[in-house]
Amino acid sequence: MTTVAVKPATMAQALTRALRDAMAADPAVHVMGEDVGTLGGVFRVTDGLAREFGEDRCTDTPLAEAGILGTAVGMAMYGLRPVVEMQFDAFAYPSFEQLVSHVARMRNRTRGKMPLPITIRVPYGGGIGGVEHHSDSSEAYYMATPGLHVVTPSTVADAYGLLRAAIASDDPVVFLEPKRLYWSKDAWNPDDPQTVEPIGRAVVRRSGRSATLITYGPSVPVCLEAAEAARAEGWDLEVVDLRSLVPFDDETVCASVRRTGRAVVVHESGGFGGPGGEIAARVTERCFHHLEAPVLRVAGFDTPYPPPMLERHHLPGVDRILDAVARLQWEAES
């Protein structure tokens, strides 16, 4: 398999390309949301789609998130494959009832008769200097809702591949786009886009022997940076990018932890009741006898997301990750 890296592309560009290719491939795919049409979305991810496919395929809706998701449900009932954009993480909350009580359950409640192939794109997380209500990490809510897939890319190629897979899925997918990676660039050839990346498989982004950093989305680059920095301490860290929170790839994660015997879960989302608890608990259940130390967590604080000027203290950074690695009871080894 050769990947021709013609020029670097941003994650936002890869997402746009994924939407465009999906729309071209399947007339049932409809993009809808606030400002997605003429403007191309506040992050420009839907740029050009209304022009290319018409306003009926890429529609500026009225400003009402429950209405957006609720009408998408009806459209999916009639055989369309809506791709909904929520403008920011916190602005998806008005649609929570539609999501939990309908989107997540429709297949189950109708005994499989009425699947809802809806993709809900949610730009999430902080680190972009956004004011209040623009930097939430809301994945814990989605993870706790059976019936949803929850997916989040950390690379340009995955952004393309996973979004294609999400749109192709016959189940609803909450597709979490790390805001601060929108402009991250990668050598990726947009004209030879990577094939669809199946949902549900974690990937080892960096191999290591000393301990595993389990992470996803916006925290992946931070963990890779931490792993580089850790070499100075003599630690060789493995970094697992989950890519899909639901379904969860126990196999890849546990294989890594069994190898290293130590793990730290890293995410921006608040720690208490956040994804890290689930991840640490299930890794411990499955790898207890391989663990030299408890699985630790490095997460956002259990506070509302702070204002831009203070967010750097909230976000898990390299130092905080290395401090946690240092707490993995290395003395037990010697």
Partner: protein, 378 residues
């Protein structure tokens, strides 16, 4: 020209040149609910249609009584009766073409049954076997909807999708007076009007949301008056007058089908029984109020009109009653059988493919069942 472009290019202009987007006058409902029965309009009604409505009303009333009786025998977990509201239920179902869609609320099992859903399947939710007991695509009836008003945006989305595909399908969605207070009602009506989606919203104003009377629900002149705020017509109709409800809904359906956009219809009716069998309506209303409405019973109103005009004879009445009894007997017989359920169904349809995690859990439950464990709540 696409659907979205049809709306035309509105451009704001400063107040001297400002224009209202639509003329509000034709959108406003009449001052009193429209009636046919007992008025001159009845003479122009189609006797055949009225007889069909009548037969279904009688059947519907019997269905309601039977379902309520089955709750007493523990055969249904709960039943929200539509007794007294049969005119709305029946007209809503009969007014639609086969290709159209019905979006019922949790109270509207009768409308689903009239549309063709097997009564046992319609009652599956309330029996407790499964959530949606029927295939929504078989008769184009969306799942009975418990979270109030949440089915309304679904109806809009479906109707919009049909229109985009070029199908002349209409969606009719039913909601209660209480449900109009929810944000989803507002958002659905607004989307429908902006998209000119072929939807008919039928509000069954039965006076109560459980114990809460309309006066605590709204201060509007009528619920139909809400329509003008979305730029769609609002219609007010006597909800116990089956002929009137049918006529108003038929107009709205026709209007929607030819691209005229949505309509909000408020049918003024009354919930004669308690909210459900589990409710105690003595706590919040007087018998006298209920009695006043019994004199305005949908079946009696229609029967009087039909017999006075000589459009229905004894035999017709008897036939309707026998048909209703047959339905009830069938319902009794089938619901008195214990249902067979496969606990493995819990995992079958959460996703198209069970996740590895669900496979593990399914294996756990299977092992428990094989070990003879019966679960909690023994």
């Amino acid at each position: 020209m696409t659907v979205m472009e049809q709306r035309g290019a509105y451009r704001p202009s400063p107040p001297p040149a400002w224009q209202p987007r639509t003329d509000p006058t034709p959108l406003l409902p009449d001052a009193a609910p429209y009636r046919v029965l007992g008025t001159e309009a009845a003479a122009k009604a189609d006797p055949e249609l009225l007889r069909r409505l009548y037969a279904q009303l009688v059947r519907g009333r019997r269905y309601n009584a039977q379902a309520t009786a089955l709750t007493k025998q523990g055969r249904l977990a709960v039943y929200p009766s539509s007794t007294g509201q049969e005119a709305c239920e029946v007209a809503a179902a009969l007014v639609l073409e086969e290709r159209d869609w019905l979006f019922p609320s949790y109270r509207d099992t009768l409308a689903a049954v009239v549309r063709g859903v097997d009564p046992v399947e319609a009652l599956t939710l309330l029996r407790g076997d499964w959530h949606t007991g029927y295939d929504p695509y078989a008769h184009r009836v969306a799942p009975l909807c418990t979270p109030l008003a949440t089915q309304l945006p679904h109806a809009v989305g479906l109707a919009h999708a049909a229109r985009l595909k070029g199908d002349d399908v209409v969606a009719l969605a039913i909601v209660g007076d209480g449900g109009t207070s929810e944000g989803d009602f507002h958002e659905a009506l607004n989307f429908a009007a902006v998209w000119q989606a072929p939807v008919v919203f039928l509000v069954q104003n039965n006076g109560f949301a459980i114990s809460v009377p309309l006066a605590k629900q709204t201060a509007a002149p009528s619920l139909a008056h809400k329509a003008v705020g979305y730029g769609m017509p609002g219609r007010l109709v006597d909800g116990n007058d089956a002929a009137a409800v049918h006529e108003v809904l038929a107009d709205a359906v026709r209007h929607a089908r030819v691209g005229g956009g949505p309509t909000l219809v408020e049918a003024v009716t009354y919930r004669v029984e308690a909210h459900t069998n589990a409710d105690d309506d003595k706590r919040y209303r007087a018998d006298s109020e209920v009695d006043a409405w019994r004199d305005h019973d949908p079946i009696a109103l229609l029967e009087r009109e039909l017999t006075e005009r000589g459009w229905l004879d004894e035999a017709g009445v008897r036939a309707a009653r026998e048909d209703a009894e047959a339905l009830a007997a069938d319902l009794r017989a089938r619901l008195n059988q214990d249902s067979e359920l496969d606990p493995m169904d819990l995992f079958a349809h959460v996703y198209a493919e069970p996740t590895p995690q669900l496979r593990e859990q399914q294996a756990l439950l299977r092992a428990e069942l094989e070990a003879g464990q019966e679960g909690e709540l023994r």
